[in-house]
């Protein structure tokens, strides 16, 4: 089934000298291909020859070559039928008829119907939460729904709550991004002025209290934006969540649904989660069960780590490491204050009377700069540099940027940092992440 309609036409190789393969796709089928991961892997180029096709909701231009780097997993879908050329050697490439795209499109249609109604009745647009276990294509569904919405002229907001694999900013953050144009086929959504909050770790489980707090912060800011910006209000939002759907992770989902006041919950491929949410969310929230695409592949731990690293590299060096030129300079310890959010847990018996364990999770713990700071990613908090009194707002302040500590000199009391902007630091309150980044390339 997968090889139907494929004609190997290696004779019309392009000037690049790479082997080319031509695929003719019938209507409502998709071509899935993966590019080998690893340093030495060859890039794969994609070209649309005839017809119309889209990659995760973004339409392809005809006769334009799209390049996909190592580790890419791409699905080219066509509604009407098309023919494409692949240059280079993908790890796998096959055509599949078995795609839930029609269901996703129907979902979009329903959401669009809601937006129309919102526009007509001067109400707010749909707020959608996408949930599901890991590796079911949550981010891809979000990207598709957002791209479709933009293509019909909406201005939806993308709320990224997946701290492990953030699609907007570096990992370890939660963020919100206004979507104004469809995602770029190669780069994804253009990240302009996102609202980013520091979480500090790749798993919400390390500090679930903080995670919920930041969710509330985002929800509050988004609601305020909706009040002043009618278009954003009608556009609604699409919330991407973590793949953690049990225990506290599940509670976090319910909390998120409640703070964002979601109207629709899309559950991907997890019937139990679907049933639980139906029980725990009030009746006026529409919970929808959707299948996952057969093209979704499971990502290994290494693969996830690599994507995280890539995301941080992209922050400093730009897409494919060519667009930006970061700065490196020294920062004196005395000029900055470094905090970690969340004190280490202590047994209840050691706590002062009347205090519970939860209270420590939002505490700011000063970090003494030392050698172990090396390679850590630090968020530059936008909180005003004040004295002790100003410390309270730090947790709820968005982040204005990130730096990486590349070297620590305890003798001279300075650390060398990698920074996207030249010195000095715009603010002097830094929040440390558990995430480390080694600038190897």
């Amino acid at each position: 089934m997968a090889t139907e309609g494929v004609e190997k036409t290696s004779e019309d190789a392009p000037a690049a000298g790479k082997a080319s393969t031509r695929y003719d796709l019938e209507k409502e089928t998709e071509l899935r291909f993966e590019v080998e991961s690893g340093e030495a892997a060859e890039q794969v180029e994609l070209e649309l020859l005839t017809g119309m096709a889209e990659v995760f909701g973004s339409e392809l231009n005809r006769n334009k070559k799209y390049t996909f780097g190592p580790g890419s997993k791409i699905a080219v879908f066509t509604w009407q039928g098309c023919s494409v050329n692949l240059y280079g050697k993908p790890e796998v490439a096959y055509v599949s008829k078995d795609t839930p795209m029609l269901l996703y499109l129907n979902t979009h249609a329903a959401l669009e119907q809601m937006r129309k109604q919102a526009e007509r009745d001067n109400e707010r647009g749909p707020r959608v939460m996408v949930v599901g276990p890991t590796d079911v294509g949550k981010s891809t569904v979000c990207r598709m729904l957002l791209s479709y919405a933009v293509r019909v002229g909406r201005r939806p907001t993308f709320v990224e709550l997946d701290v492990g694999q953030s699609g907007v900013s570096v990992p370890g953050t939660v963020s919100a991004l206004c979507i104004e144009r469809p995602a770029d086929v190669e780069e994804g959504f253009s990240v302009q002025a996102p609202l980013v909050y520091h979480f500090g770790s790749t798993s919400p489980g390390t500090n679930i209290k903080l995670y919920n707090k930041l969710t509330s912060c985002l929800a509050e800011v988004f609601s305020q934006r909706c009040e002043v910006n009618r278009k954003a209000s009608v556009g609604g939002c699409i919330i991407n969540t973590c793949g953690w759907v049990k225990g506290s992770g599940y509670q976090a989902l319910v909390h998120c649904a409640s703070t964002f006041q979601v109207d629709v919950v899309l559950v991907l491929d997890h019937e139990r989660l679907y049933n639980e949410l139906k029980r725990d969310l009030p009746h006026f929230v529409r919970v929808v069960l959707l299948p996952k695409s057969g093209g979704v592949v499971e990502r290994s731990k290494e693969c996830r780590r690599d994507t995280r690293d890539e995301k941080i590299r992209e922050y400093f060096y730009g897409f494919r490491g060519v667009t930006f030129y970061p700065f490196s300079y020294e920062v004196r310890f005395s000029d900055v204050r470094i905090y970690k959010i969340g004190a280490p847990s202590i047994p209840d018996s050691c706590l002062p009377l009347g205090m519970s364990q939860d209270d420590t999770q939002l505490k700011l713990v000063p970090v003494t700069p030392g050698r172990d700071l090396t390679y850590h990613v630090l968020s530059v908090s936008s909180a005003e540099d004040g004295d002790e009194g100003a410390r309270k707002g730090i947790v709820e302040s968005p982040v204005c940027g990130f730096i990486v500590v590349t070297h620590v000199d305890t003798q001279a009391q300075v650390m060398k940092v990698l920074s996207p902007a030249p010195r000095p630091l715009p603010r002097h309150t830094l929040l440390i992440m558990d995430i480390r980044f080694m600038d190897m390339k």
């Binding site: 499109l105 749909p126 479709y148 278009k231 936008s382």
Partner: protein, 532 residues
């Protein structure tokens, strides 16, 4: 060897004497020495007279109507009278001559100044001058004789002429004299000479060439050393203004070394006002409708999901999608797509139905949870949107926690919600209604008040040997004078004084008739032994 000795009176106590003296002086033909020449016996008597000031002894607090007390009081009073009415005998050669110039409120010296010149007086237009309080003090010490309209002034005249609202008050003079007698160097305080805290921080060199009080004074520029308080004030302000301007210039010049360099624009824009949120909320995209205000507040009413068809694979009712999902309206789709029916049934089998592995404990919980459904509750079913639902939840929560609602739904609420955990230190901070303050905290924003001002700079006696009027250095303290009957200065006044004085302590001299006591306010912090 003529023993030329002059007589002056110690005080104005004996009203008749100065007049007599003046008459005698007027009758003097030469008009050169307005003084009496003493005979040897008189001089001897004056020399051998006891110079001791009578001891006052124990203070009586209460009149007990006894003769003994009355007698003692009378005797003491007489001793004082005789002391103040006593004629003082000085060597004429020791007396410096000066002339009182009322228009400028200064005393101009007509003969070379004595040793006192090291710590007192100033030069103007090549002439040596004394401030009225200095002149009066020197008169009392027997070092100076002041003439006015060619007539010598008695000490009583000095008190009357020199002390006024434009120069110094009697109380200020009493403090001045007291400190001088103790050996301190006392100079008038000039607020404009005091560098601001910012200048001190920058460690700017102190500019000593101030207008008022130094050796090279331009009389034309500042006609009166004892100008009225308002005049000094305005001059001080003007000077301060120009000094701040200068500072700003300095700041600009130093910009390159300064830590606070202009921030990178993109970082700044994202970090602006109020934690950087507002830009994100308010940037208006393209052509957003202006009439967003009304209606959008009401949190979305229930959507009619029977007309909005989601491809929900989980819905149990198969009749939702008979023979698949109807094709959506092309107007809803991007790029005017037209798609056909969608077979939902086929997808239903592919959904992940596998059982999740759970421990026994989890299974028990799960069982319990299966029976629980928020929507079984009738109140929840009645809610039409999130706002109503959340209000219901809050109500339930409030009921559960048993917080007395009546305390919290009015304007004034308790300082702290007992259900909210809080560290002890924070709690103490929260309930301490009166906040501690430092003397200099916020003082720069206070406006000047007229009722309290610093009068004198005081320098320690042991520095007199190296003292230079042109460069007096840092005073030991600053003196503020008030009467015993004045109210105690309030926090505002103290803050203002402390700000004006900078790092030099301000001492308040309280004059209770002849007695002077000194007080000072010091910054200190109450100890708190609360672990933060």
């Amino acid at each position: 060897m003529n023993m030329t000795v002059t007589r002056t009176q110690r005080s104005a106590a004996v009203a008749g004497r100065p007049g007599i003296m003046a008459d005698q002086n007027n009758t003097d033909d030469k008009g050169k020495f307005y003084s009496e020449i003493l005979s040897p016996s008189e001089l001897f008597a004056a020399r051998s007279r006891s110079h001791k000031i009578p001891v006052r002894g124990q203070k009586d607090f209460f009149p007990d109507d006894s003769d003994e007390q009355k007698q003692r009081l009378e005797q003491s009073l007489n001793e004082h009278w005789s002391l103040v009415s006593e004629e003082r005998v000085e060597r004429l050669g020791n007396l410096v001559k000066g002339e009182w110039i009322p228009s400028e409120q200064i005393v101009e010296l007509q003969s070379p100044a004595g040793k006192f010149w090291q710590t007192m007086g100033f030069s103007a237009n090549g002439k040596q001058c004394l401030l009225p309080e200095e002149a009066l003090y020197l008169m009392e010490c027997g070092n100076l004789q002041v003439f006015y309209q060619d007539l010598p002034l008695s000490i009583q005249d000095g008190y009357e002429k020199f002390l006024s609202a434009n120069t110094v008050s009697l109380q200020q003079y009493q403090v001045f004299g007291h400190l001088k007698r103790l050996g301190y160097v006392v100079l008038r305080f000039d607020p404009s000479s005091e560098s601001s805290s910012y200048a001190r921080q920058l460690n700017l060199p102190q500019s000593r060439d101030r207008a008022g009080r130094t050796l090279k004074r331009k009389r034309s520029l500042s006609p009166a050393p004892s100008s009225t308080p308002t005049a000094t004030c305005s001059r001080a302000e003007a000077q301060e203004e120009c000094s701040t301007e200068k500072m700003e210039e300095d700041k600009c010049n130093e910009g390159e070394e300064d830590k606070k360099l202009p921030e990178p624009p993109e970082a700044q824009s994202s970090a602006d006002e109020g934690g950087g949120r507002s830009w994100w909320m308010t940037d208006v995209l393209g052509d957003s409708d202006k009439d967003s205000g009304h209606g959008s507040k009401s949190v979305s009413s229930c959507w009619d999901f029977s007309s909005i068809s989601f491809p929900d694979l989980g819905s149990t009712s198969r009749e939702h999608f008979p023979g698949g999902l109807a094709p959506p309206d092309p107007s809803l789709l991007p790029g005017d797509l037209k798609v056909g029916f969608c077979d939902v049934g086929a997808w239903r089998q592919k959904i992940n139905l596998r059982q999740v592995k759970m421990s026994a404990n989890e299974q028990k919980k799960e069982k319990y949870r299966r029976r629980w459904d928020v929507n079984k509750n009738r109140e929840v079913r009645r809610c039409r949107n999130w706002a109503e639902y959340q209000e219901l939840m809050a109500r339930r929560k409030g009921k559960r926690e048993g917080r007395p609602a009546h305390l919290w739904n009015r304007e004034v609420t308790p300082l702290h919600d007992p259900t909210q955990p809080i560290a002890t230190g924070e709690l103490l901070e929260k309930i301490s209604v009166i906040k501690p303050t430092h003397l200099l905290e916020g003082a720069s924003r206070l406006k000047d008040a007229d009722d309290w001002r610093i009068c004198f700079n005081v320098y320690q006696p042991d520095t007199v040997a190296d003292f230079k009027k042109s460069n007096p250095g840092k005073p030991y303290s600053r003196m503020c004078v008030c009467s015993f009957h004045d109210p105690v200065p309030d926090l505002r006044a103290i803050k203002l004084l402390a700000y004006q004085s900078g790092d030099i302590p301000v001492v308040i001299a309280v004059v209770d008739y002849g007695d002077i006591s000194f007080y000072t306010f010091k910054d200190f912090q109450l100890p708190t032994d609360v672990y933060p």
